[in-house]
């Protein structure tokens, strides 16, 4: 059995001391270990950002993709080898901005991958520009007069687009976060885990304390995660109170489970042989 530490390489993280990413990483590693996963049968696709730099300290099969391009890569890894546990990992910038179209449409597929978004409501790596989830009015490098755009609501979008597992975690609650990640990975379908991850360097508004004062747990409210309409409304709640936990979960056949091509063996296991095409030639005669 792999331990949480087995998912760590020798590379020292380059995150700022005190960054919310440390807690996120800890919860994630523990979740993988507790699920009995092995580094070699876990594939993880990383974005470009502070979040994505972690490709270097995660020990597993990592694909460090381009900015915004984690989901399509992860989608196809799962199709090619459906026996792998596949996780896509990005920031709010890459996930909801640059990669927004992939997010919109992959929710609809119900492919069995887990999508982890480090939502620090800012562009961290590129030194503090506004992100799709930046609060109205926040002054950033690119919005010196204050952000005018309304924030993106990832959970509402995901529910509306047909995602079958939609949750929010907070790095300040590692136990809850670990459990959410475990449930998300166990869920057979597309799982979004949006994680409130304080960026202590560039986001001076949405700090650890700011979140701490606002978050409350759905699981302590007797929340029924099967009710889609309620979940949609709940996912829009943002302000003095911010709910965390599993908002919505629905059991539905995953994308890859509906492909007859994968019935007997994964695509990779099927190997590559020269295929006889004579049966397809008939229609050209």
């Amino acid at each position: 059995m792999a331990k949480a530490e087995d998912f760590k390489t020798n590379v020292k993280p380059t995150w700022c001391p005190g960054c919310g990413n440390f807690g996120l990483w800890q919860s994630y590693r523990e979740a993988l270990a507790e699920l009995g996963l092995q580094p070699h049968n876990t594939a993880m696709v990383f974005d470009i950002g502070c979040c994505g730099n972690a490709a270097n300290w995660h020990k597993l099969y990592a694909f460090h993709s381009l900015h915004g391009r984690t989901i399509p890569v992860a989608f196809a890894i799962k199709i090619a080898n459906s026996e792998l546990t596949v996780v896509a990992d990005s920031g709010d910038g890459g996930g909801y901005g640059e990669g927004g179209n992939h997010f919109l449409h992959t929710c609809r597929t119900n492919i069995d991958i887990t999508y982890i978004v480090h939502n620090n409501q800012i562009y961290g790596l590129t030194t503090g520009q506004a992100s799709p989830t930046t609060e109205i009015g926040l002054q950033t490098k690119t919005t010196p007069q204050g952000q005018l755009d309304r924030p993106f609501h990832p959970l509402q979008v995901a529910i509306a687009q047909g995602a079958t597992f939609v949750a929010r975690g907070f790095t300040g609650d590692p136990m809850q976060l670990k459990n959410i990640i475990k449930e998300a990975i166990k869920h057979k379908g597309f799982s979004l885990v949006d994680i409130l991850q304080p960026c202590i360097t560039w986001n001076k508004l949405n700090t650890f304390t700011w979140y701490k004062q606002r978050v409350y747990k759905l699981e302590e409210q007797n929340w029924d995660a099967k009710d889609k309409e309620k979940a949609l409304a709940k996912a829009g709640e943002w302000g003095d109170k911010i709910p965390t936990g599993i908002f919505y979960q629905e059991q539905a056949p995953s994308y890859e489970s509906q492909l007859p091509q994968l019935k007997d063996k994964t695509l990779v296991e099927q190997g590559v042989q020269a295929q006889d095409i004579s049966k397809f030639l008939k229609e050209f005669k």
Partner: protein, 599 residues
Amino acid sequence: MKNGTKLFTLKIGGEAGQGQQVAGLIFAKACSRGGLYTYDYSEYPSLIRGGLVTYQISVSEEPVFAAYNTVNLLVCLSKAAFINSKKELSDNAAVFYDGDKFKIEPGELPKIRQINLFSLPLTTIIRQAGLLPITANQVTLGAVAAVLDFDRKLLHSMIKDIFGAKGEKVVEMNIKAIEAGFDYAKNNCRIKNYTKLNTKPEKKDKVVITANEAVALGTIAAGCKFFSSYPMTPASSILHNLANWAKESGMVVKQSEDEISAIHMALGASFAGARAMTCTSGGGFALMVEGLALSAMTETPVVIAESQRPGPATGLPTWGGQEDLRFVANTGHGDFIRIVLTPGDAKEAYFLTPWAFNLAEKYQVPVIILLDKFISEGHESVADLTDKKIIINRGKLLTREQLGKIKEYKRYELTKDGVSFRALPGMAGGVHIANSDEHDEFGFSTEGFMPEIRIRQVDKRYAKLPAILKDLPKPRFYGSKKAKTTLIGWGSVKGPVLEALKSLPEGRYNFIHFTAVNPIDAAEVGKMLKGSGKLVLIESNKTGQFGDLLKQNLNVDFERKILKYSGIPFYPEELIEELSLKKATAIKIVKSKKKVKVK
């Protein structure tokens, strides 16, 4: 046509939705089954109903590699079709028009030629025979068969194959339609000394196929298991065919949300260990460019079919050209190798597709198969499409056992040939990062503070070049070694040039056709060109893109450049005229005063 071999060109024109392409293809296959060879070309606008759609097909007793411009039999289902095509009529040509719908007066015919004009009143014929209007195409084909003395049984056998699944009644009705058209034309449309299409039972295993269909078949033959694409003319039929065959072929075919996704999906599947491919046209390829660079940096094999249409921007969506060569050969940020293959016809497209997969996996680089509308949509009757064996070579891909013997696996290990072993997710001991950041041998990100790592990795990726050059399909030489002038072309110009060579004085021209245009093996090409005479460049674009690419690589000059960028393919007649040094009309010529130097 040389040596009296019959060459005959039929053109059917009408509105979109009138089914002339379907009818044309039935005729093409019937000819092919009757021992004849065909090549077709279709023009249509980017709309669904109305407008003008034409289908033209050249038929010959010997293999024909391009559609001819000169029309011997014109079928007009709309007046617009007549107006558009009348200038192409040959002497003693026949014109059928749907006399129930519109009229063509003899005075409207081109004056300089003898032309046989006949009304083919489709509605009347259909009504009198008690048929449904949907059979109009078959009536037309029957009439065509009548004037050509063409064996109707070949048409009947096509009808049986196409409509068989819909039941005997449908088959019967369509055969009846052919007979009705045949009888009408036999009684009403007599032409003196007209072409006879003599057929004979075909012994060869022939297919009537486009390069897109051949690429799709090649994709299956190559053992590709994952295909992701976003539709774009003229590439879409690759996607359509593969989607259609997916259940039987076992390939997973995904229409992605956009082309950015399409290429990243292909990269994901490839990273996981499946052979993967995508297809698009120039506009979609523009969106894929970042993925091309990602393939190069992560050394993840990928095959991309790009079928060109005229640009820039949306351009002429349903027309053709060779305008993307400079783009695909140079695009992508940073320095990296990409291979560009340029099949000239369906058969080359079929064999180059598995070849592209082998190259992609052996060298862990992106490979582009560059097609264009002319071959992507032009059906050619080909004997023995599959006569060569398909070889699979996955390069340095580790098995679990091989990986187990490696103490410390390095995904980007520095090797002499620049290629490092691939381990796949799921294999114990092979955990690594496929990294879009510059990286060390293990895949860990590196910074410019360690320039030696960066330099070694760049050099490693480029160390693949010599072996790649050896492994590419060689330019192919056609004609006499002694010819004074050498024609140079790539991709789809092959067909029209080969056709033109049939009619040009023997020994005057030879032809070098390139099926791999990037990277260029300067030494090899130099050797081929040594001793050749003047060079004439033939391309379907404005600026002579391949000429420029050759010049970048070796000291060559072109006596003339024959460039066409109207969206219409080169017609053999145009090239014959052009190369006979008569005044050109339809094509643009750029003359260069410089002498040819080959070193």
